[in-house]
Subunit: 272 residues, 2 copies
């Protein structure tokens, strides 16, 4: 077992923010499998005096469906605890009076029910998977080229994710495709955008140094949180790779085998 690195992250801690896929569970086609010990670890955090939020770049389902799916895997989490790119995008669209052309997964469409989508003046892409057909990408491209000021929002910027049958292309790849086609820079909504982490802090009414982020993605979870002044812990589950511990630009504040071990460390340091 690799060495646990934990230089006293839990001092003055008031809240924990958890990434979901790869920390709580692994995804298999058609089902969600809890990572051993993670259901109990979440319950222990909930029973503590720490605030708890979940921060995901999941854009294949609405939070309602997501919570239901998590329940079948044993997690008892409420919609209000979950921060995801789609509702964050809706907030941005409303704030700036924008009407999106959507290229997103069918599962997440209901999050955009309240948004005016007529005569679009921007494009929003999410992890649309099979919906990333040539026709659909071309349609999004034509909307962008038809705008005086082309405006593209991307729900995350991941390169790929792991499924049991292999790696699958994530939304960032199609963001880069449209950026090149239209010669523009997309606005990323979701991790590692500082605005996204800040919205979680605002919701809890806390300062960054009072909050610890735990994730399996070194750049988007750990690096993103650190850029906002939070501490960032990486777990050796999900998309973790040993090379992460020698990364050139991001160094986690701690590295542990899994969520269960992280919660052990946090609660024992607090005498909990």
């Amino acid at each position: 077992m690799a060495e646990t690195k934990w230089p006293g992250c839990a001092g003055g801690l008031k809240a924990v923010v958890l990434d979901m896929c790869g920390v709580l569970y692994d995804s298999e086609p058609g089902r969600t499998v809890a990572i051993p010990g993670s259901v109990e670890a979440v319950n222990r955090l909930m029973s503590s005096d720490l605030q708890l939020r979940f921060c995901t770049n999941e854009t294949q389902s609405s939070r309602d469906k997501f919570v239901a799916m998590l329940q079948t895997a044993g997690f008892d989490i409420s919609v209000s605890q979950i921060f995801a790119p789609a509702p964050a995008a809706v907030a941005v669209l409303n704030e700036r009076g924008l009407r999106p052309h959507l290229l997103v997964h069918d599962g997440v469409l209901s999050e955009f029910d309240s948004v005016d989508k007529t005569d679009p003046n921007c494009v929003v892409i999410g992890d649309a998977a099979e919906k990333f057909s040539y026709q659909n990408l071309n349609d999004a491209f034509r909307v962008l080229t038809g705008l005086e000021k082309p405006l593209l929002f991307s729900l995350g910027q991941g390169r790929y994710y792991k499924e049991t049958n292999g790696l699958s292309l994530d939304v960032g790849v199609y963001m880069k495709a449209l950026e090149y086609a239209c010669d523009l820079k997309a606005e990323v909504i979701g991790k590692p955008s500082p605005r996204f982490f800040q919205s979680v802090l605002n919701d809890m009414g806390l300062q960054p140094h009072e909050v610890l982020m735990i994730g399996d993605d070194l750049v988007n979870d750990v690096g993103g949180a650190q850029n906002c002044g939070m501490k960032g812990i990486q777990v050796r589950t999900g998309k973790y790779r040993p090379s992460d511990e020698k990364h050139l630009t991001v160094t986690a504040d701690g590295t542990v085998d899994n969520l269960s071990q992280a919660v052990d460390m946090i609660l024992s340091q607090r005498g909990g």
Copy 2:
């Protein structure tokens, strides 16, 4: 009519290289329409003592089918005069002992008939249009991530092209997508790659300063040829835009209304 700029490009000229789409013809769904005067202009060049080659980034059909299509539009051109990315790629693959996974248009597949495609050790993408499905792009991505040294060849790097029903995404967009997904840099085969222009020069046995390139694409045709030491003329047909004449990095050696006018200038300067 805009001003003709023609600072004596034809001095010492021994050959002309023509781009095809946007110079000879415009593409409409299901048919090819000759640009007025271009059939006759090609015939006049053929009757002169100048060598003539055609240099295209067309990767939706084999040269055989391409020549047949051009014939219906009135052009009498032979396969041996046409330089296109697919046969150039075949030469590279043979030279380096590479076995490609192909993500190309069905129409161009026959150009790769002679190539061993078992147990692929590289990926070749062309303008696959509707074949750029999520599944197919993911398959190409998985081949690349499975290689010790991922190697991607792109048949061109265009952003988009114009069809009568609007703009359509070109191969360069998908090249950028895979570059980001795999954190690599593709090798571009076709214009504006210097290697591609050099193969045309080699075929004619000429030095760059003896050859004039005529195209509608300022960066890929004109700039690419100039980078090899050839002169580059832009026509105001096809994808030409007035802003090209104020481009920051590429300045054509001459700008004319169309191919017919270019050939007038060339032949009159030569006393032809």
